[in-house]
């Protein structure tokens, strides 16, 4: 177990920092399988005789556990290091799949809930935050791009798992034996795939810098501090809670469309001359996934150039305008609807991927992974809030006899309001007060090198 300790993962001379993104991707592409859980839902419902609500339970519990383990395990992940965290993620996530295999074989659904939801969910949360602070330390010159690659992997995980799992279920058959085998193979295959991340991950030496880069190089243009704030202190700052609002409402606005994409586009064009068939709506969902994934890399990388505050102005401001466009001209053109929805989803993905770099800018690299973990509670809230708003209003509209795009009018106005609140919260973000900064030590070279307080070294 000593091999997993942070001290054993310090990179030797000659280690390329470009080996760290694939290590992160090996973890994120695997745990992103969670987004493809829906593939297992109908087979489980059929073989174990459970309802749709019941079959959603493992996924819902997994997402709750993701938020909780990221929030409460963040500090431990920082202390023990990324290899330990990736190993824990591998063991928990793959054990969850193996336990699920056993549960299905025994026709005991509660074992699947416990395995995939509880045990596997811990793997999701620890795995999600495991590479974040390491990537930021390896790419201090391009933190947005680095975290964008990893977090794009989480979106990409579903792209791989969805067709792969479907194919496996088709081959093995929709029986308890077939589903059990599919879970078993998932558990083994993901363990092998994630092992690359565990083996490859390295942390840079504390004094390491990319050649030609200095910590102050970006300060004149961006909201970047050279000081460090602990996770415990970060949650006491208004900046943390303002970012919490920004992330929560940006995610709510995106997830509201993502969760109901297929029925939404069918409803929108129901009473028009260009109705969209249910089979075509599957294509719309796929395009949204693509936009979500690309937004994670493209917008997050762009944030390295334009600054974190500016990119969130763009996500939230342009997002609100696009919702307005959908309200005013949404069902006049399928192309317009698809492009606007794709742009909104790209901002949703971009918001996820840029947040670690924003945290680094404001709180330094010291415990950025742990702070990120705590901030992910905003995701848990948004995951409930977004679908709740859209579904409740659409259901109420249907009960009242409404059809077509009018089912979503009120939801879209709410999304605009949330995005405007997020925009204002982003505007209120200022550098963190020096009273929250950690004292400079040998372990914190960034703080050591910074001779001025955050207020004097940062500019927006």
């Amino acid at each position: 177990m000593e091999l997993l300790e942070r001290s054993r993962t310090i990179a030797k001379p000659g280690w390329s920092r470009w080996l760290v993104p694939p290590a992160a991707l090996a973890i994120h592409l695997s745990i992103g399988q969670a987004y493809a859980w829906s593939v297992f839902k109908p087979p489980l419902e059929k073989t174990l005789h459970i309802s749709g609500t019941g079959s959603a339970l493992p996924f819902q519990l997994a997402i709750v556990m993701l938020g909780l383990s990221a929030a409460f395990g963040g500090t431990l992940v920082e202390r023990k290091g990324p290899r330990w965290a990736m190993f824990v993620s591998l063991v928990a996530f793959c054990s969850g799949l193996l336990i699920s295999s056993l549960g299905v074989a025994l026709s005991q659904y509660w074992i699947v809930v416990l395995g995939y939801g509880f045990v596997g969910g811990i793997g999701l949360g620890i795995g999600y935050i495991s590479p974040v602070s390491t990537l930021i330390k390896w790419f201090p010159d391009r933190p947005g791009m680095a975290t964008g690659i990893a977090i794009m992997g989480f979106g990409g995980g579903a792209l791989i798992a969805s067709p792969w799992s479907s194919q496996m279920l088709t081959s093995f058959g929709v029986t308890t034996s077939g589903i059990s085998k599919a879970f078993l193979i998932h558990g083994i295959a993901y363990a092998v795939f994630m092992a690359l991340g565990v083996a490859l991950i390295r942390v840079p030496r504390p004094d390491w810098r990319p050649a030609g880069w200095t910590p102050d190089a970006n300060a004149p243009k961006k909201l970047v501090t050279t000081a460090n704030v602990s996770a415990r202190n970060a949650v006491k700052t208004p900046q943390f809670w303002l970012l919490w609002i920004v992330l929560c409402f940006n995610v709510t606005a995106g997830i509201g469309i993502l969760e109901k994409a297929a029925p939404m586009i069918v409803d929108f064009f129901k009473n028009t001359s260009t109705p969209v068939a249910t089979t075509a709506a599957v294509g719309f969902t796929a395009l949204l996934s693509l936009a979500n994934m690309l937004g994670r890399f493209v917008w997050s990388s762009l944030s390295d150039r334009v600054g974190r505050k500016n990119i969130y102005r763009f996500y939230l401001g342009a997002g609100a305008l696009l919702y307005l466009l959908l309200l005013t001209a949404g069902n006049s053109s399928t192309q317009l609807f698809v492009i606007a929805a794709m742009a909104i989803l790209s901002f949703y993905g971009g918001g996820f991927a840029t947040i670690p770099a924003y945290l680094r800018d404001l709180f330094g690299t010291f415990q950025v992974g742990a702070i990120h973990g705590r901030l992910l509670t905003a995701w848990s809230v948004a995951g409930v809030l977004g679908p709740l708003i859209v579904n409740a209003i659409a259901d109420a509209g249907k009960s009242a006899g409404h059809t077509g795009s009018s089912l979503y009018t009120t939801s879209f106005y709410i999304m605009i309001a949330l995005l405007v609140i997020g925009f204002v919260a982003n505007e209120l973000i200022r550098p963190v007060s020096a009273k929250f900064h950690e004292p400079a030590t040998d372990e914190q070279p960034a703080a050591e090198n910074g001779s001025e307080s955050a207020e004097s070294t940062v500019k927006n």
């Binding site: 990179a11 030797k12 001379p13 000659g14 280690w15 390329s16 920092r17 470009w18 080996l19 694939p22 290590a23 991707l25 090996a26 592409l29 992997g153 990409g156 579903a158 792209l159 791989i160 798992a161 969805s162 067709p163 792969w164 795939f193 690359l196 490859l200 840079p204 030496r205 390491w208 990319p210 050649a211 030609g212 880069w213 969209v276 089979t279 075509a280 709506a281 599957v282 294509g283 719309f284 969902t285 796929a286 395009l287 996934s289 693509l290 698809v338």
Partner: protein, 50 residues
């Protein structure tokens, strides 16, 4: 993968060649990703088929 991508300045000359490892590591994650992307594009085309 420019010269600034390696960890050290002092032992730059003695740094081992990581090209093979880089290729294997990136292929390890890129190939499944491309498979998923291909399947997604196939699905996305359904939106434009009438």
């Amino acid at each position: 993968m420019a010269e600034d991508e390696t960890t050290t300045a002092p032992a730059e000359g003695a740094a081992p060649n990581r090209v093979a490892l880089l290729v294997v590591a990136w292929l390890w994650v890129t190939l499944p990703f491309l498979y998923g992307l291909y399947k997604l594009i196939m699905n996305a085309q359904k939106l434009f088929q009438h």
